[in-house]
Every structure is written in C-alpha cells, then in structure tokens.
C-alpha cells in the first residue's frame, strides 16, 4: 500500500494522518519550505524545519501554529515515524522522510544539489520510494556554478556603471535574492537597493547569520534620486509596473533556471538572463535518484514525462505523480 497518495488537498500520508505542503486547510500539515506555492495559510497545525520558522511566520502570520523540528530529529505522527532533512533549496527547506509499515518514503520538496551559502546543503537520504520534484527535468538544464553566474552579474553591473544606467535584476524575493546577495558578497562590498517586497525576507536571512551585501530599501531613497550605476533587486512581478519608472533606461536582468533557454528570456522581454536556479538540474535529479537507492521514483511538478521514461529505460520503476494543482513557474 502506498505510504503517500495524491488527494484533492495534496500529498497525504494515511499512516500519519498528515499532508505535505497542502493547498487547502488540513488538520496537520508538514511543510517543506516557505515558498507561497508550498506554504498556505489556514491549517490547524504546521510542522517544519526550525531554520525556516521565521520565514514561515512572515508567510503565514506570526500567530500561525507552527512547530519547529531540527534536521534529522525523529518524531511520530500516528503510526508513522517522520524526520526532516536539508533540501538545499532555500533557508529552512526540508525533505520529508516517512517510515511506516517497514517502508521508507522520502518527499524531496523543492531541492538543489549545488552549493548555496544561504542554506544547509542537500542531504541524500536512502529510501524505498522517492517522491522527487522535476521542475527542470530535461538534459538541456545543467547549471553553471553559481560563483560564475555571480561574476557575470558583477560584470553586467560594472557595465551599467560605465554606461551610467541602473541595473535592475529581477529574481524571486525569497531564496534567490538572498542567494545573489550572498554570492556577490564574496566579490564586492557595494550596497544593493531592494524592492519593498524583499526587505523583510532579507532581514530574516541576516538574522539567521547569512553574510550578504549591505542593502537599502529603494523606498528610502529621496525623490528623483539617480540610480545610475546601482544594482536594484526586484521581484519579477515588479517588471512593467509604475514602480520601474524611476529606473530610467535601466538594463533589466532576470536570474532563474528558465534563463537557460533563450526563448524563455525573449518571451519575457528581459535584456539579460542569468542562469541561477534553486531547483535540481538534470544531473542533480539523476544523482538524487541514484543516491536515494530508491526502487521506485515518483516525479512531480513540471513536465516529468521525459524524466520518467529515461529512468524506466535505465531500469528504475518510475511514474509521474499528477496533481490537479497547476504549478506556475513561480519559485523556479
């Protein structure tokens, strides 16, 4: 019998009577991380990795009933023994390991295998069945090292300094922005300006002890301030809004795994794409399947068909785990 099944509310573990990242209110929700498409309000009880509590409170409200668990700490839910393990996706992100009826299942949540100075590195966990994300599940997705991408960002920023124009870099407000600030802090100490949606999240990372470049809210700048030669981080949703008007003649960049493919960047109208993802690339997905030792792999998110077929051809039992939840590219 399956330890985990897909239900209308999302992934459900019958043995432990809890959901993982449910998209409807449930009695007990284990959360893998604080991205909006994984952490939704309204459930009666939440369990998550302690490192991510601050971020979850920002997302779910300071009064949300969230219990923190240390990575690796084992706890019982119903007849299931559960533990959380670092996923390397963002600060406090976790894989969920579930042991019941003599079987071990692991739900990876979102994860990546590349080093990231803002969070604990992915920890391979052995299991019988692996439920893995498959957001970038084609071999064209192979990430360049983040430090090289940081050098590209710095070179672009320097070019904007020379051309005396602002450099506006769009990136997801939670995770990607902080990772960029941390990677760049190894290369420079120039301050960066932040869109208002990012300030509290950056503060939370700072309080967690992540070293990042100094930041200033754009809203603190006096009216008519000239942002020529400055780097500004903004969420992708800010592109094309009146907020952008103050950055006259700005060069507009986007940091995301999707930028690996030209068509994605061109369709979105960015001047420049930086390939930086907090998800596993193709080699990362294959390595994780291999490291888990799983006899069965269930792939969710993204278009997993090619990945599933490739695993099957390599002798691994695999299937796509379909949900009616249409995931956007929101946190990629």
């Amino acid at each position: 019998m399956a330890l985990i099944e897909m239900t209308a509310a999302g992934l459900y573990c019958r043995a432990g009577d809890f959901h993982i990242d449910p998209w409807r209110p449930v009695p007990c929700a284990v959360l893998t991380h604080a991205h909006a498409d994984h952490a939704r309000a309204g459930s009666a009880r939440y369990i998550a990795a302690s490192e991510g509590l601050e971020l979850l409170r920002l997302r779910l409200g300071s009064l949300a009933p969230i219990e923190g668990r240390a990575y690796g700490e084992r706890f019982d839910l119903g007849s299931a023994r559960v533990s959380l393990h670092p996923a390397g996706h963002i600060l406090g992100s976790a894989q969920v390991r579930i042991e019941a009826d003599g079987e071990v299942w692991v739900v990876t949540g979102d994860y990546k295998r590349d080093p990231d100075p803002t969070c604990a590195p992915f920890e391979p966990v052995r299991c019988d069945v692996l439920v893995t994300e498959a957001t970038f599940a084609l071999p064209v997705y192979r990430w360049p090292p983040a430090e090289r991408v940081a050098l590209e960002v710095l070179a672009w920023w320097d070019a904007c300094v020379r051309e005396r124009i602002p450099a506006v870099l769009c990136c997801y407000a939670l995770g990607k922005a902080q990772r960029l600030l941390a990677e760049l802090a190894r290369l420079t100490d120039r301050p960066v300006h932040l869109h208002g949606a990012m300030a509290a999240l950056v503060d939370a990372y700072r309080q967690a002890g992540v070293p990042m470049l100094p930041t200033r809210p754009v809203s603190d700048a006096p009216r008519g301030r000239d942002f020529a030669g400055e780097l500004i981080l903004a969420p992708p949703s800010a592109a094309g809004t009146p907020w952008m008007r103050r950055f006259r003649d700005a060069s507009l960049g986007f940091a995301s795994g999707w930028m690996q493919v030209r068509g994605h960047r061109r369709r979105r109208g960015y001047d420049l794409g930086f390939v930086l993802s907090d998800h596993a690339d193709w080699p990362g997905l294959l390595a994780t399947v291999h490291d888990s030792g799983a006899r069965r792999v269930l792939a969710m998110h993204g278009d997993a068909d090619a990945f599933v077929r490739h695993l099957r051809e390599s002798g691994i039992d695999a299937a796509a785990l379909r949900s009616d939840f249409a995931r956007d590219e929101g946190s990629a």
């Binding site: 064209v140 360049p144 030209r262 490739h310």
Partner: protein, 532 residues
C-alpha cells in the same frame, strides 16, 4: 569569433534599434577588416550552404551527451531551436583551452567551407570536436552558421546605417557600394568604408572617432621612440568640439550631443574660427590638474547646470587632435602636421580649451617611469600615437595605443591549492597566489572563482602532477602557473606577511602565455596601496 558571438548576443538581448545600432558600431570599431567583411555579409542576409543535415546534428548531440535520440528530440521540442539545443546538450568533453581555436569569423567561415571537401562521417567528427572545445556563446553562433540560419533580427538598412556612421559616410553611398555582387574580403570591406572625397561636410556633426587599442606587447616592440607621440591618458569623457558657421557643438563618443551641459566650453569654442573640429577629452579641472571622474559625472547628469555646480565642478577641454580647419578635412594628413596646426590654432584660445601636453621623455625607459607616476597625475596611463599616422575611424590596431596603468589587476603565481567542497568536491578549487618580492614569492591573495569548469579540471590535473609538498588538504605546487587577478582594492596590513591585504580577489584569466618569472612584483601592489 568571440566578438561576433558577443554581437549576436547583443542583438538577442535587445529589441531597441538604438541598442542594436550601438552594438553594431562597437563591433565594427573593433573588428579586423576580414572578419568585418564576413560579418556584414552574413548580417545582410547571406547564408553559408549547409554542411550538416539537422538529423546529423541531432545525432552528434546525442553522441556527445550520451543520450538516446528520443530525448534529444524532446529537448529540441522544448527549446524550439536546433542550434541552441545542440549547443546546450553537447558536453565539453575536451576541456583543453589550447584546443579551442581563438580564430576570427573569417577563419571560421574558411573552416566551414573546407568541410565540404571531406566526407560526411568526418564532417560530423570535426564539428563535434569544434563544438566541444568552444565556449557556450561561440558554440551557439557556430551552430547557427552550420545550420545556415543566422537570423539575427537586424534589417539590412540598419547594417548599412551602422557602417555609414562608422565610416562617416552617407548611408546611400554605403548602400550603393554594398549593392550587387558584394563579395566579402578584407579589401572589399576597406573599400566599403573608404572616405568619400566628393561628399559635402556636415558642419554640425562629429567625425567618426579614432579609437586606441590596449598595448599588449612590450613598449619597445613599437620601435623607435621618435616615431611616437606620447601624452597622458586622461580619465575623462572623449569628445569632439565641432565649430561650424552657425555655432559650436560638443559631442561625446557614440554621437551623443552634450549641448547645454558645458556652457563654458561651448562659449570658448565659439571664440574659435568656424570650420574647425577638435578631438580631445572633457575633464573636471581645477588649477593645474584634473579632478576625479565623479565630479565630471555630476556635470554630465545636469542638462542646465546652475552657478553652484559650475563653481564646484569646473571643466576643461584638452584637445589632442585637429580634424578639420577652415572646413578642410585634415584626417588624411600625418598626426605630426595636425598637431602642429592644433598648437598654432590654440595658441590664444581661452583657458577652457587647452592643449593636451606632449610628454617629452627621451626614450621608452623615461616614458615607462612617467607612466608609473600616472596615478599621482590623476590620469590612467599614457597614450602612444604614431606621428605619421592618418586619423582613421574605429579601432585600427597599430596607430594608437593606450598604455594604461591598470591598477586593480596583477599577474600572480599559483603557489598553494586546496580541494573544494560540495559540487566541486575532490577538485582543487581554492587557490593561493603570490607575487615576487626580491627573489621570493610572497602569498598575497586567495581566490576561488573565475575559472570555467574546463579550466578547473585541467588545472586540477596539473596541480596533482606538480605537487611539491602536502600539509593536510593543502598542496604546495611548483611555482609555474600565472593568473591575472582582479580585485576591488588594496590596503596596507600588518596582519599579512606581505604587508598588504587585497579585497575581493578573483581570477580574470589563466596566463598560459606568461612565465612565472614575469609575474608582477609586490611593489606594484604596495604602490597602489600607497601610504607609508
């Protein structure tokens, strides 16, 4: 081909005509005539005949990446573009920079054309070797050339306009010259951009700027010191003053009109006789020396400067060339003569327009010593211009050299290496670099970023084979490999054995060409750090 790949990337980035035009002009200014000829030809719509069918390219990608054919098809469907798909899938199996040919566009076209003389099987093998050795952007452009579909989204009209602006010719004339059976060659390109004797001068417009190349050889290789004029390399804004019959205009490089921003210069220019074009540098200036660039920047930002700003940031134009006088084009004359005329013309000019002084050091050694003092003079280094050179548009190597004191880079020797963690576990990715202090190498910086994957693998192999000593995870290696390092700053520090601390060092490139003995000396950094 890197320059052409960058041009392609610039087109890819931008939908704005102005940005495309600027990218084209940058590329034209830097390209060698043969490469420029092929670039223009291809951009204007010419195609190379196809040497590999799409199915063969997919096969090649599948073999290079070790993937089944159906998965390559899935990728193609996802990416939408075959050349891009192959570029993304092919694995750099041959991480050998020496193997990656640093050839220009014209050379690549020759190579591709030559492919037709070998059989299909060999073709695929040769192409795979190229692709696996090239960097991502060049690899992509090469594949675009091979598939015969170099659609870049520039109109022929825009290409013509860029050439016209580059050469200072009317677009109609360029279009006329490019019409019919234009066949690409260095000579054909030179003829395309040759000055037009019959065209009437447009008296308000600037003349296409002559640009300098960075000096990349010992200065002695330039030959006789007497053949060269030496000046400071000013850290200002390159500009031309055009004094026409109807007024005076100030233009920056890139044909940006600076009118209104520098009224004192325009006023001084109107005191000159009409029919004059001066080439020179706009600088913030006080007393007898330049102010930092940031001061000038404040003036550039203000279209109508107020009295306070004018007083706080006074500016001056230092002329170094005379391109037109009495409405006569002087560009074909030797610099020696233009300079003599310039000095006569400016003999009684108002102080806002001055003469960039000639540095009189007798020999190269004297100039080298002067260059060392550049920082104290608030300049970036020296300019060397051939005295018998004409004034030619763009960056024509050989006549104008910038001999910059580039303060924030050094060539340093790799002395220690340590294995990295995470994704790079097992590979030596943390490096310690040293500079010469008398006869010893003193460590000055640690850097772990800046090399690409192929270089890291190659260097790792070298490190393992050339370890002299091991202390735990750290290996001391033979002091052989030289790297160019960039950094954000240097400070005196008593905590470091070298007496200095560099901030944010990173690797710019691996100097395969440089023996360790020629790496920089510690004094270089100490001089930058300044102080006692």
């Amino acid at each position: 081909m890197r320059a052409f790949a960058e041009l392609y990337a610039a087109f890819d980035r931008s939908t704005a005509t102005s940005a495309k035009l600027a990218a084209l002009r940058r590329w034209l200014a830097a390209a060698d005539s043969g490469d420029a000829a092929w670039g223009v030809h291809l951009l204007a719509g010419a195609r190379l005949s196809r040497v590999l069918a799409p199915a063969q390219l997919k096969r090649l990608a599948a073999e290079s990446a070790g993937l089944p054919d159906w998965l390559v098809d899935e990728c193609h469907a996802h990416v939408g573009d075959l050349a891009e798909t192959v570029a993304l899938l092919a694995v750099a199996a041959n991480p050998d920079p020496d193997h990656a040919p640093a050839a220009g566009l014209a050379d690549w076209v020759r190579r591709i054309v030559r492919l037709r003389t070998v059989d299909e099987h060999q073709r695929a093998a040769i192409v795979r070797g190229w692709i696996e050795a090239l960097g991502p952007s060049e690899r992509f452009v090469l594949l675009k050339l091979l598939t015969g579909a170099l659609r870049v989204g520039v109109s022929r009209g825009l290409v013509v306009r860029a050439i016209a602006e580059h050469a200072g010719l009317p677009p109609a004339r360029v279009a006329e010259r490019l019409a019919g059976d234009w066949s690409p060659s260095a000579a054909a390109f030179d003829a395309l951009v040759a000055p037009d004797e019959t065209a009437a001068a447009d008296t308000a417009r600037p003349v296409p700027f002559c640009l300098a190349s960075g000096l990349d050889q010992p200065v002695e290789a330039l030959g006789e010191r007497d053949a060269w004029l030496a000046e400071w390399k000013w850290d200002g804004i390159r500009a031309q003053i055009v004094r026409g019959t109807a007024g005076a205009w100030l233009w920056s490089r890139g044909d940006e009109a600076l009118d209104g921003r520098f009224p004192e210069i325009e006023q001084a220019a109107r005191a000159m006789p009409p029919g004059v074009v001066l080439d020179g540098e706009l600088l913030a200036w006080r007393g007898d020396g330049p102010l930092p660039f940031a001061r000038l920047q404040r003036r550039v930002n203000r279209r109508r400067p107020g009295a306070t700003l004018l007083a706080e940031c006074p500016v001056r134009f230092l002329a170094y060339d005379l391109l037109r006088e009495h409405d006569r084009d002087l560009r074909a004359q030797p610099l020696r003569d233009r300079r003599a005329r310039l000095e006569r013309l400016l003999a009684d000019a108002p102080p806002a327009i001055g003469l960039s002084p000639i540095l009189a050091a007798e020999d190269w050694a004297g100039l080298r010593a002067l260059r060392e003092t550049a920082r104290a003079h608030g300049v970036e280094g020296l300019m060397l211009k051939r005295l018998d050179s004409s004034y030619r548009p763009g960056r024509r190597r050989g006549d104008w050299w910038k001999w910059k004191l580039d303060p924030l880079t050094v060539d340093a020797v790799l002395v220690y290496a340590q294995a990295g963690r995470g994704r790079r576990a097992g590979l030596h990715t943390d490096y310690t670099f040293a500079l010469w202090d008398r006869d010893a190498l003193l460590p000055v910086a640690k850097a772990y970023s800046g090399l690409d994957d192929a270089e890291i693998v190659r260097l790792d192999r070298w490190i393992r084979a050339h370890t002299v000593e091991r202390f735990g995870p750290v290996r001391r290696v033979e002091p052989v490999q030289v790297f160019e390092l960039a950094f954000e700053g240097v400070q005196r520090s008593s905590r470091h054995r070298s007496g200095i601390a560099v901030r944010f060092p990173r690797i710019l490139r691996w100097r395969h060409d440089k023996p360790a003995a020629e790496a920089d000396r510690l004094e270089t950094l100490r001089a930058i750090a300044g102080g006692g």
